[in-house]
């Protein structure tokens, strides 16, 4: 399980549980890594749980960190909110070493957070969780009318799209003109 610590300096990783005596072969002690989000709160996560993330798994398999090195160098994910990273870490821990079921009841239910969660999961390349999240997003509009779908997913009308496109072109034109004027000024 993960332990959450305020700041890297106060990190005090819990000892991994020891293998039961009855086990036939001695278990290799599990290695742990540390991640933090925008809020700098460090989460201690086992390598097994992190295997869900193709991104982190790729990083740790290339590093070969010792426990101390891992502790001293938590992976920074500054683009992910702390509470979202917490949700992701919790999910990874709950599904550590287990095949993920077709319907996941452990998926975070907060619809307001779903957008940030989807982006984080996509960034961290957690395939199974991403599938669940995308199902959840699809479920948001299940049985809704077209106008309800427009409202929920914030889909602009053709007229709004055209206006936005015009505006973007205008802005790009202005920026280009500004750059040309600046370049001419520099030349003088």
């Amino acid at each position: 399980m993960s332990s959450t610590e305020q700041g890297t300096s106060s990190a005090a990783p819990a000892e991994p549980t020891t293998a039961p005596e009855s086990a036939a072969a001695p278990e290799v002690p599990e290695s742990f890594y540390y991640v933090h989000g925008k809020d700098k709160v460090v989460h201690k996560v086992s390598a097994g749980a992190l295997q869900h993330s193709a991104l982190i798994h790729g990083m740790i398999s290339n590093l070969g960190y010792t426990e101390e090195q891992a502790k001293a160098n938590p992976f920074p994910f500054e683009n992910i909110d702390g509470d979202i990273l917490q949700m992701v870490v919790d999910w990874c821990n709950q599904h550590k070493g287990k095949p993920t079921p077709p319907e996941d009841t452990n998926l975070p239910k907060q619809k307001e957070k779903l957008f940030d969660l989807v982006l984080a999961v996509n960034y961290l390349e957690i395939k199974e969780l991403l599938t669940y999240c995308c199902k959840q997003v699809a479920m948001m509009v299940k049985g809704k009318s077209p106008e309800e779908i427009r409202e929920i997913w914030m889909i602009p009308t053709d007229a709004e799209d055209e206006a936005a496109e015009k505006e973007a072109k205008k802005r790009a034109g202005k920026e280009a003109a500004g750059e040309t004027a600046a370049a001419a000024g520099d030349a003088k």
Partner: protein, 354 residues
């Protein structure tokens, strides 16, 4: 007063494209359809997401009010969309989704709602198999809205009722102007002297039931070398014999099976001496168990023999019984099927010189 709970928002368009694709792929058919009607961009998104659907069938029923589109959606459920003629009063089948209402959601001009809706559905979803089924003689068949959208199908079915018939012109339109891998045809032609002799360019499976008088079986295998399965009902015995000889003489190189079923009321029978006239037959190499497995309508009272092609020595098994004559060519699929059975016949491939 308490405000009603508001729908949570999700800025789908701010997501990376791959994510939008995944979300759209997880939507239900009707939700994805509704979403596609919101804007040009949303329509494009559904199209690019390559939303896969197994099967769609455009059904033109005996009664025009029952015309519909059938779509096989997720979990093997079927969705029916009413495509009742636009000039009809709005008496619509309540068990179906009203196609007119769906078409009204699509922001495109069209004088025929059925055409608009069909074009939209076919353009945004990706169907593995697209079928068309005609059950009535459609006036001005050449002007049917569907042909403006699509002329290529996986299966074309023309199954007219006994009181309806079809003209040679309409038959040619179905067989020549449309492209289909498979045809299921059951109708009477209104011109008994007409014989269809052209090739069916892309047809791999032809199933003609009821009357097949309109079809000229002479050299049919030569005309259609791509044919895999040929089923002709109530074909006179002499013509069955002729078709067996066409194959023995090297035509129908890709043929996998032929079936000549007899309907009980037509008084046709297939005596051995007519069907195998001039054909060398040999005792079948199939065991009873294998025959039972391979030949679904295998009858103990029937006769099962093997025949061999003169050009490459390939074998075929012919089963003749009171319900018809059935032929299975020994091709890869055939072997794969009999290999599943424990005892496999010892097959020695021999090349017979002409």
């Amino acid at each position: 007063m308490e405000e009603p709970p508001r729908n949570p928002k999700f800025g789908l368009l701010k997501c990376p494209f791959a994510l939008r694709e995944e979300v759209i792929g997880n939507m239900d058919f009707m939700d994805a359809f509704h979403f596609s009607t919101l804007s040009k961009r949303s329509k494009q998104m559904v199209r690019k997401a390559r939303y896969q659907i197994d099967f769609i069938k455009f059904r033109f029923e005996e009664n025009i009010k029952n015309d519909r589109i059938e779509v096989k959606i997720k979990n093997n459920d079927w969705l029916k969309i009413s495509m009742s003629d636009s000039n009809d009063p709005p008496v619509r089948d309540p068990t179906m989704i009203d196609g007119l209402k769906l078409a009204n959601l699509i922001d495109e001009p069209s004088d025929d709602y059925r055409k608009k809706l069909s074009a939209h559905i076919l353009s945004i979803f990706h169907f593995k198999s697209t079928h068309v089924h005609l059950e009535r003689n459609i006036e001005h068949l050449d002007d049917l809205f569907l042909w403006d959208i699509r002329k290529q199908f996986d299966c074309v079915e023309v199954c007219l009722s006994r009181c309806d018939d079809i003209s040679p012109e309409d038959l040619q339109l179905v067989l020549n102007n449309l492209v289909s891998k498979s045809y299921l045809l059951e109708f009477e032609l209104n011109d008994s002297s007409y014989k269809y002799q052209k090739p069916l360019k892309y047809c791999e499976s032809l199933d003609v039931r009821g009357s097949c008088q309109w079809l000229d079986p002479e050299n049919i295998l030569q005309r259609n070398p791509q044919m895999k399965d040929l089923n002709l009902e109530d074909l006179p015995g002499e013509q069955v014999n002729n078709l067996l000889k066409q194959w023995i003489n090297g035509e129908g190189i890709g043929l996998e099976s032929m079936g000549f079923e007899i309907s009980w009321y037509n008084g046709i029978d297939y005596p051995d001496n007519v069907i195998f006239d001039g054909i060398d037959t040999m005792e079948t190499k199939l065991t009873e168990e294998q025959a039972n497995r391979m030949i679904v309508i295998w009858r103990h009272r029937g006769r099962t023999v093997d025949i061999q092609r003169k050009t490459d020595g390939r074998f075929a098994t012919v089963h003749l019984c009171h319900s018809g004559c059935y032929v299975w060519m020994w091709h890869t699929k055939f072997f794969r099927n009999i290999m599943q059975i424990r005892s496999v016949p010892k097959i020695k491939k021999t090349v017979v010189k002409r």
